[in-house]
């Protein structure tokens, strides 16, 4: 069976990201999964094997890791030329998409981004235009290079014992034009990552100020959720931009999306419309968020949410 390359998304703090396990799960339906790791493969091998990686290719060293994206694309392109995989899957993250873009140019190959499903023949399903339209697309030139949106499939384990093969990457001078001089991890405590969380609790303009976001965070922590924010809340300085959900922020697709004080402008809906269950609290009965909410509460969030938080504590 032909290999399917899965470009691993991982972080130092939390190891292999969930989207990687989703990609391995999809890859198994397309061929034999081979994981491509940048950095220390040993720390990740256990998890990658658990979800079916038959092989691990690892590329590490300053030349690969200390420059922006280009050396990684060079490494994957070399690997594609040598192993002739059936497909290449990457995460729909900034870096995943950027590597995919460079691969497409290097190989004069098509690419598809933000797939939520990939059929055995390589046809990808995408949800576009603020969640309003479902598209099926195919790469028509070269092999399928597809980025997978987090929270698209349920990762299913299938144990394998992958051997690790160290790659020697011929990084060119052109790959070393953009240097990463500093990587700063910002404090976000033990909360799950926004795009991968199974529950997201978001606050909007109705939260009123930055201090009040503690209430949103409290609910999130009680539910083991990530915290999100609407653009109105971010623009007003209530919460940092990296937590913004919607058109110019993150797209999330959790099991539960709890919208607090969010009116539900189309640009916000663009980022959360595919959530499985949507619950909203808003004082305006006409707020468009109620059109999508499976359970809506018309009321003052400063009364409803503290009461809900107490009730969750009681039930725990």
């Amino acid at each position: 069976m032909a290999e399917v390359l899965v470009v691993v998304e991982a972080s130092q703090a939390s190891g292999v990201k969930k989207v990687t396990l989703e990609m391995l799960t999809i890859a198994r339906t397309l061929g034999s999964p081979s994981a491509v790791v940048f950095g220390d493969a040993a720390a990740l091998a256990g998890k990658l094997g658990e979800y079916g990686a038959e092989k691990i290719y690892a590329a590490s060293g300053d030349d690969v890791e200390n420059y922006l994206v280009a050396p990684k694309a060079t490494a994957v392109a070399e690997l594609i030329r040598s192993v002739q995989p059936a497909a290449v899957l990457l995460g729909s993250t900034q870096e995943g998409k950027e590597i995919a873009g460079r691969l497409a140019v290097k190989l004069d190959n098509g690419l598809l981004v933000d797939a939520v499903e990939v059929a055995a023949d390589g046809t990808a399903t995408q949800v576009v235009f603020a969640g309003s339209t479902i598209v099926k697309s195919k790469v028509t030139k070269g092999l399928p290079i597809i980025t997978i949106r987090p929270n698209s499939v349920t990762p299913a384990p299938q144990p394998a014992t992958p051997a690790v093969e160290q790659l020697t990457v011929a990084v060119t001078e052109a790959d070393k034009l953009t240097k990463v001089v500093e990587r700063v991890a910002e404090q976000k405590g033990s909360r799950p990552e926004l795009s991968e969380a199974s529950i997201v609790v978001s606050g909007g303009r109705g939260v009123g100020n930055a201090d009040n976001f503690k209430l949103v965070e409290e609910t999130a922590d009680l539910l083991g959720a990530a915290v999100g924010a609407s653009r109105a809340a971010v623009d007003s300085g209530y919460y940092p931009h990296q937590f913004q959900v919607g058109q110019t922020g993150k797209t999330v697709s959790p099991q539960l999306y709890l919208a607090l004080g969010i009116s539900g402008a189309i640009q916000h809906r663009a980022g959360m419309q595919t959530s499985k269950t949507i619950v909203a609290v808003n004082k305006d009965p006409e707020a468009p968020i109620f059109e999508l909410a499976d359970f809506g509460v018309v009321g003052d969030l400063f009364k409803v949410v503290p009461q809900a938080n107490d009730e969750i504590r009681k039930r725990k």
Binding site: S11, L68, V69, A70, Q94, K97, E98, G101, A104, V105, D108, N109, G110, L111, V113, T123, A130, S132, T133, I134, V135, K136, K138, T140, K141, L177, T178, K179, V181, R183, A185, E186, L194, L223, H241, T248, L256, A265, I266, Q267, T277, I278, V279, V281, F290, E291, L292, A293, D294, F295, G296, V297, V298, G299, D300, P306, A308, N309, E311, K316
Partner: protein, 259 residues
């Protein structure tokens, strides 16, 4: 500094958008077409750099005839001139082909700095800056929330899931920006009037030396096979707080096994 800003005309993301039933491309003829919002931040950044360091700002757009409206709108913010790549053969072009055409045009413009929005609101693909950097052999600094120019040295802060990265490169370079980088100016009346007289050069594929079969449907590297409207979500239960809504909400969450 010679700055080129990439500007894309897109259907208004605040309105209903669709694909065309005929050829599965983005429906633009019936849409309210506007400048891709994120590109306005790129224009603003270009103007700020010009104001601080001198130079010239050129808007570069690939798109049909009607993209002229967006070019004039962009020029009304303050750029000096524009280049409009327009050719019927471009209809249906994929990202790979688009990058080929833009790179060919950029090759004639001799830019020190190529600025663009981090993504467009229609495709949200985010690949163009790195595709262009790959083709042109220049640096790419993507997703900047802050950009510092010191002579030919560029430093950008780029948002990541974990925090942020500081990246540096020398010009020439492609820099894409998020909407957190600045606050775009509104065009003044004077700016709107001046924009009408600013030079807009149009370029065809032949003038760029790109063959028609390398772009459009003929040269596409991917295709939309089919599309369908996603069934709209229907509203579920809606209650009005009469003192116990918090408890009712948690009862719902418990019934759905979230608590």
């Amino acid at each position: 500094m010679n700055i080129v800003v990439l500007v894309k005309q897109v259907p208004d993301s605040g309105a209903e958008r669709t694909l065309s039933a005929g050829d599965n491309t983005v429906e633009r003829s019936s849409a309210n077409n506007v400048i891709n919002e994120m590109d306005e931040y790129a224009i603003e950044e270009a103007l700020k750099i010009k104001e601080a360091h001198g130079g010239e700002v050129t808007v570069l757009t690939m798109g049909p005839e009607r993209a002229t409206e967006s070019i004039r709108k962009a020029l009304s913010m303050g750029p000096d001139k524009a280049v409009h790549i327009t050719d019927e053969a471009l209809h249906g072009s994929c990202a790979v082909a688009t990058s080929k055409v833009l790179a060919a045009a950029l090759g004639t413009l001799n830019a020190d700095l190529i600025l663009c929005g981090a993504e467009s609101t229609d495709g949200r693909v985010q690949v163009m800056p790195h595709m262009l950097a790959e083709r042109l052999g220049v640096a790419a600094l993507t997703g900047a929330r802050k950009l510092t120019v010191d002579g030919s040295q560029l430093t950008a802060e780029r948002q990541t899931d974990e925090g942020y990265e500081v990246v540096t490169a020398a010009t020439p370079a492609v820099v894409s920006v998020w909407d957190t980088i600045n606050e775009p100016r509104y065009p003044s009346f004077k700016g709107i009037m001046a924009a009408k007289k600013k030079p807009v050069q149009t370029l065809t594929l032949a003038e760029l030396g790109v063959a028609a079969d390398e772009v459009g449907f003929a040269g596409a590297t991917s295709a939309v096979v089919e599309f369908a409207k996603r069934p709209p979500r229907s509203a579920g239960t809606k209650i009005t707080d009469e003192g116990a809504a918090g408890e009712q909400l948690v009862a719902y969450l418990a019934a759905e096994k979230f608590v």
